[in-house]
């Protein structure tokens, strides 16, 4: 990843807000929202600093931290060498040493070079030390496909991280969540990983006042419905909502759309409550299907709401192939609106 993602993106826009903006509501892009959240955190707490590859002079590979070097200087906006393991580990150590680091990793694919530090150090320290060493580090990274970046820059591996006890995994899907999730993540005494879908950075949306923010460990029903529950998160939220609108318009099917927001811990109550009302569920996840987050959600529904189901569980996931470069192949590999429609329609007979 050597470019800033400044060019217009294929649309992944969330639907327009239903209520007119109140004076305190601000409109901005997802990128600006993350930047504002970082700036606010750095002003609020001198222990907060940012570290990662090209976050300073270059402005961030997705331009998230653009301008912050001038504002905060190189001590608090630290460019690192290409040493994912060392600078993620340094973030963990600095967190234990009393700082509140925000570590940026260019993409989730590169986070694998730091996987040992995340898994074997950040996630285990509190436990291995018998409760002595909590690790208040925040690690942000880009995830997801859709920009023809092929098989080493495009995967959605957040589900892997959601496997690990000791980590909190967040996937802000809206501009509001991008703006508001960082502060509670920094306040969390334990390691938090924030996954930002690459296609969301250029999306604009409203940010209501801070007191309207729903706690970051709660899933949110983004669209109410009674015929089927669509469970999704992150980059797939917009197209799942689009599919729900199509189902309503074309089929008269009212789908309820749940945005997980937190992938670990999972807000089971919100998922199960919805499924108990709709009696059907489809999980939409950009990750692969095998051994995945979507499998986990399906299993939990089956374990706890099996007798509430009127139809088999379904999943819409990425094709089990390393992400191809050519646009038509990449699009074919990813969950699409048509695929969601095809999964939902046979479940709901009317």
């Amino acid at each position: 990843m050597a470019e800033q993602a400044q060019a217009p993106m294929p649309s992944a826009a969330a639907p327009a807000p239903e209520s007119p903006a109140t004076p305190a509501t601000v409109r901005m892009t997802y990128r600006e929202a993350v930047r504002e959240a970082i700036r606010e955190a750095m002003h609020a707490d001198p222990r907060v600093f940012v570290m990662g590859e090209d976050v300073g002079a270059y402005g961030g590979c997705y331009a998230v931290t653009k301008g912050l070097l001038t504002e905060f200087g190189p001590e608090r906006l630290r460019d690192t060498p290409l040493s994912e393991s060392a600078f993620v580990g340094a973030g963990i150590g600095a967190a234990v040493g009393g700082m509140r680091p925000i570590v940026e990793i260019m993409t989730v694919n590169f986070s694998l070079l730091a996987l040992d530090q995340i898994m074997n150090t950040a996630a285990t320290f509190l436990h291995m030390s018998g409760g002595q060493c909590n690790v208040p580090v925040v690690i942000r990274m880009t995830t997801g496909a859709g920009r023809q970046l092929a098989a080493q820059h495009s995967h959605s591996l957040e589900g892997w991280y959601a496997h690990i006890p000791g980590l909190r995994i967040l996937a802000p899907a809206t501009v509001e969540d991008a703006r508001r999730m960082l502060a509670p993540a920094l306040a969390d005494p334990d390691p938090v990983l924030l996954f930002e879908h690459a296609l969301l950075y250029n999306v604009s949306g409203d940010v209501p006042p801070a007191d309207a923010f729903v706690p970051f460990d709660r899933a949110i029903v983004r669209r109410a419905g009674h015929d089927v529950t669509l469970v999704t998160y992150g980059g797939m939220l917009a197209r799942t909502l689009e599919a729900a609108e199509r189902l309503a318009a074309d089929d008269g099917i009212e789908a309820e759309v749940i945005d997980l927001r937190s992938l670990r811990p999972l807000d089971e109550a919100t998922i199960l409550d919805s499924v108990r009302r709709t009696h059907r569920a489809v999980i939409v996840d950009e990750g692969w299907r095998s051994g995945s987050l979507s499998a986990e959600i399906a299993a939990r529904i089956a374990e706890q709401a099996f007798f509430d189901l009127d139809a088999p569980l379904r999943r819409v996931c990425s094709a089990e192939v390393p992400m191809p470069y050519a646009r038509h192949l990449e699009q074919a590999a990813l969950p699409q609106v048509d695929g969601i429609l095809a999964a939902v329609r046979p479940l709901v007979t009317r």
Binding site: F49, E75, R78, T80, P81, S83, S85, A86, F87, V88, G89, A90, G91, I92, G93, A94, A95, V96, G97, G98, M99, P101, D116, Q117, N120, T121, F125, L126, H127, M128, S129, G130, G131, Q132, C133, N134, P165, G166, R168, D188, P189, D190
Partner: protein
């Protein structure tokens, strides 16, 4: 090498420090020997890596650190923990898996922790402690504190990417880290010449442009004086330093090691350089140590170890209901 002259009244302090070093090494030796027995008795389980032979390193380095400095160590860290001032009781109880252990029985021999003495593990992924250590040092730098972080690792870790990433970053950012490479010539059964293209590790580290010194790790005075110099320089803001502490482990890598890769002759040769025996002899020659003093040190060490065993034996287990505690801080509070 410190040359000792006969004691004069003004040398009394030096004598006290020398006796303290000998005492520390002997404590570690007796503790480790007893751990080996307790492993045979199946009181200690899992992996157990004994420090016997390398006592001069932990002893010499720790004697130069302040209470507010930090220590990051490996799975072969009982000696470091003892020398840092963690109680033998808590260390032994940890190995027994008891709730009174340093990590409430959740870490075991390889994961000793004690935030009170700023002892941050106990890292059993080879090389993984280095990035963590530079993070601690970065926190000190950013908060304007003149603390030093001492990071211990074996020569095997020098082949890991983390070693290179961390030295580079520490030098770029001039972080207050003392890298303590304990070169005992073998990474499990792999001798250094089979895994390092450049076996002079001080020379290799110097490529990262930090002061980098080979030190006789079998001589506690040599370790102490090199560390004292390095720590003073680091505290004065001169950036990270690297010590290659040349030493040898007398025992197998762990309790599972059949020892096929080195000859009994070689081990015997190195044992003639036992850091405790040679140091005792030196102190005797200087007139600083006599039979009674040595017997007193021995007895105190044995009593401390036996007391630790009794403490560990009599300590309770963590209740099973607490299995899921310490996964997140919330579970720590609610437990």
């Amino acid at each position: 090498m410190t040359v000792l002259t006969p004691p004069a009244p003004e040398r009394e302090q030096d004598r006290g420090r020398a006796i303290a070093r000998l005492t520390s090494m002997l404590r570690i030796r007796r503790f480790e020997e007893r751990c080996g027995e307790l492993y045979q008795d199946e009181k200690i389980r899992g992996f157990l890596h004994l420090y016997i032979g390398q006592e001069a390193v932990a002893t010499g380095v720790m004697s130069c650190l302040r209470a507010d400095d930090a220590v990051v160590a490996t799975y072969r860290e009982h000696g470091h923990a003892l020398a840092r001032g963690i109680s033998a009781d808590a260390i032994m109880a940890e190995m027994f898996g008891k709730v009174t252990g340093t990590s409430r029985g959740r870490g075991g021999s390889m994961h000793l922790f004690d935030t009170a003495t700023r002892f941050y593990g106990g890292h059993a992924i080879v090389g993984a402690g280095l990035p963590f250590a530079i993070g601690l040092a970065l926190a000190d730098r950013l908060q304007g504190r003149d603390r030093v972080t001492a990071c211990f690792f074996g020569e095997g870790a020098v082949a890991e990417g983390e070693f290179h990433e961390s030295l580079n970053l520490a030098v770029l950012w001039q972080l207050p880290v003392l890298f303590c490479c304990e070169n005992n010539l073998y990474a499990m059964g792999t001798e250094i010449a089979h895994e390092q293209a450049e076996t002079d590790l001080a020379l290799k580290a110097a490529a990262y442009r930090l002061p980098s010194w080979p030190v006789d790790g079998m001589d506690v005075d040599a370790v102490e004086s090199a560390t004292r110099r390095a720590v003073a320089a680091i505290r004065a803001g001169e950036g990270p330093h690297f010590l290659e502490l040349r030493t040898y482990r007398f025992r197998p890598h762990s309790m599972f090691d059949p020892g096929l890769y080195r000859s009994a002759d070689e081990v015997a040769q190195w044992m003639t350089r036992c850091p405790i025996a040679t140091y005792s002899a030196r102190l005797r020659a200087a007139g600083w140590l006599d039979d009674d003093t040595l017997a007193g040190i021995e007895q105190a060490a044995r009593e401390e170890v036996e007391q630790a065993v009794t403490f560990a034996e009599q300590s309770p287990w963590e209740p099973m209901d607490d299995l899921l505690r310490f996964v997140t801080s919330e579970e720590v509070r609610h437990g």
